[in-house]
Symmetry: C2
Subunit: 280 residues, 2 copies
């Protein structure tokens, strides 16, 4: 007993209170089991959590902010605040900055990822959030547009129903929270594999991560992605590709890519980011 | 000069007259360059070709049979015949069997792959066609439904817009012309990657081959797939997978598959079937 307590003192955070980054594919369960949202709540500290909600991707920030606020309050969070940033000046708001300094979890809602980045990229508010996420002091979650912004490179928009081609996907700068990934969401639900392949052909150094609705790729602080939820997380690993014609084609000319690794992961699966392989 | 002629006598078929199996993703160009159809015509012997058209997948066999007949006649083929098989008894028709005995090319149109297999699988007519294809005596082409039937296993139908799951795809027996492949067509055009992944998770010994519209995977007699046309051919190679939950899940529960190889090939690309890799 003594021994266990000593060990516990050395490593004060148990698995369920370790910080993480939850990248959610949109349309996560908000009514029934709420598994993904509850995991965010737990990883943010549970009833002791101090949660900031950023609804800035949405054109209806009050509505969506309030919805998540109620959910986390229902779970038992005592401190939840909506940081309703609607212009870039508010990215320097002292009340918001003060709250971020003390909070244990930040949740970014869905909407439009270009709007979210336009309002928050390189503001003191977002810079401080990213700093505290990197220091493993807070848990961060983003759903849909809030998921799209995780990488340095971001899919801003695109289409489906075509062979992979450069015109199928619009790229922009993301928030760079997990620099090495390129996220797509509502993945199989909106048939986005062709657009993620098109994007990855131009950025083969990035790891493509396609996340279905009501599904979460949880980037744990130990470098492991844990998958939870109803759908799948698709990993497109281009690190071993031997050829792509990306630099030779234009517009909607078909792309080729040789020797990709592809993993379709589902609930309970784990993926080792460093070694780029699923764990048995 | 003499030397070249001698060599030519030893190997009487030049590249353009070697037989092949053309697996076409549907909606191939029938009006302008007609590259794919012209390649079938050339590989069947050009103006000396004797071409059989099998329109049995279609509910409008006269219309579609006639359309291809005109196309190949316009190209210069002197002998083109529509084998309008509408019941299984006709799979033993002596006139049809006689034509197949002499023909140099067989073209299977689009329509419904279940209808095509239901009418022709295990008939003397189809058995003889397959025998002559295997003996490299005739060139075979199939587009859309005519492409779907190439493997022993066949995708009979399915859906899109969902995470890979067993209910997403309906499997049936194909004609077994290229036993080791599992073909899907109208591939990115109809967002079929999730259904092909779902099918392959249950048949990891097969090579998934997804072919876009106006695109052809030409299986050459030397074991090389040549890609031609506008779109892409996607190869899903499950031979190195380390895990799938296919046997543990049911209905629309999400599938996982770890360690697939994926190749997106386009016009001019070649793929070595035996060694399972694209050629540089």
């Amino acid at each position: 007993m003594q021994k266990i307590e000593t060990k516990s003192n050395l490593s004060p955070q148990s698995q369920s209170t370790l910080t993480a980054i939850l990248v959610i594919g949109g349309a996560e369960d908000k009514v029934h089991g709420r598994e993904i949202l509850h995991t965010f709540f737990a990883r943010s500290g549970g009833i002791d959590a101090k949660i900031a909600i950023i609804p800035s991707a949405s054109r209806e920030p009050v509505l969506i902010g309030d919805r998540y606020l109620r959910i986390f309050e229902e779970m038992g969070a005592k401190y939840v605040k909506v940081l309703d940033v609607r212009d870039r000046d508010q990215g320097n708001d002292s009340n918001f900055l003060e709250f971020v300094e003390e909070c244990t979890g930040v949740f970014m809602t869905g909407g439009d990822q270009l709007r979210l980045c336009g309002l928050l990229a390189d503001t003191p508010l977002m810079d401080r959030i990213i700093q505290r996420v990197r220091a493993k002091e807070i848990t961060l979650a983003g759903t849909s547009a809030g998921a799209a912004v995780m990488g340095y490179q971001m899919i801003a928009g695109g289409s489906s129903g075509e062979s992979p081609n450069r015109a199928l996907v619009d790229m922009a700068m993301g928030l760079g929270i997990i620099p090495e990934v390129l996220v797509d969401q509502h993945f199989y639900n909106r048939n986005r594999l062709a657009r993620l392949l098109s994007a990855i052909s131009g950025h083969p150094n990035l790891l493509g991560v396609g996340i279905d609705e009501d599904t979460c790729a949880m980037f744990d602080s130990d470098g492991i992605i844990q998958v939870m939820g109803k759908g799948t997380v698709t990993i497109i690993d281009a690190h071993h590709i031997t050829h792509t014609n990306h630099s030779q084609v234009h517009g909607n000319e078909s792309l080729n890519i040789h020797n990709l690794r592809l993993h379709v992961l589902c609930h309970g699966d784990r993926y080792d980011l460093q070694h780029k392989k699923p764990l048995a």
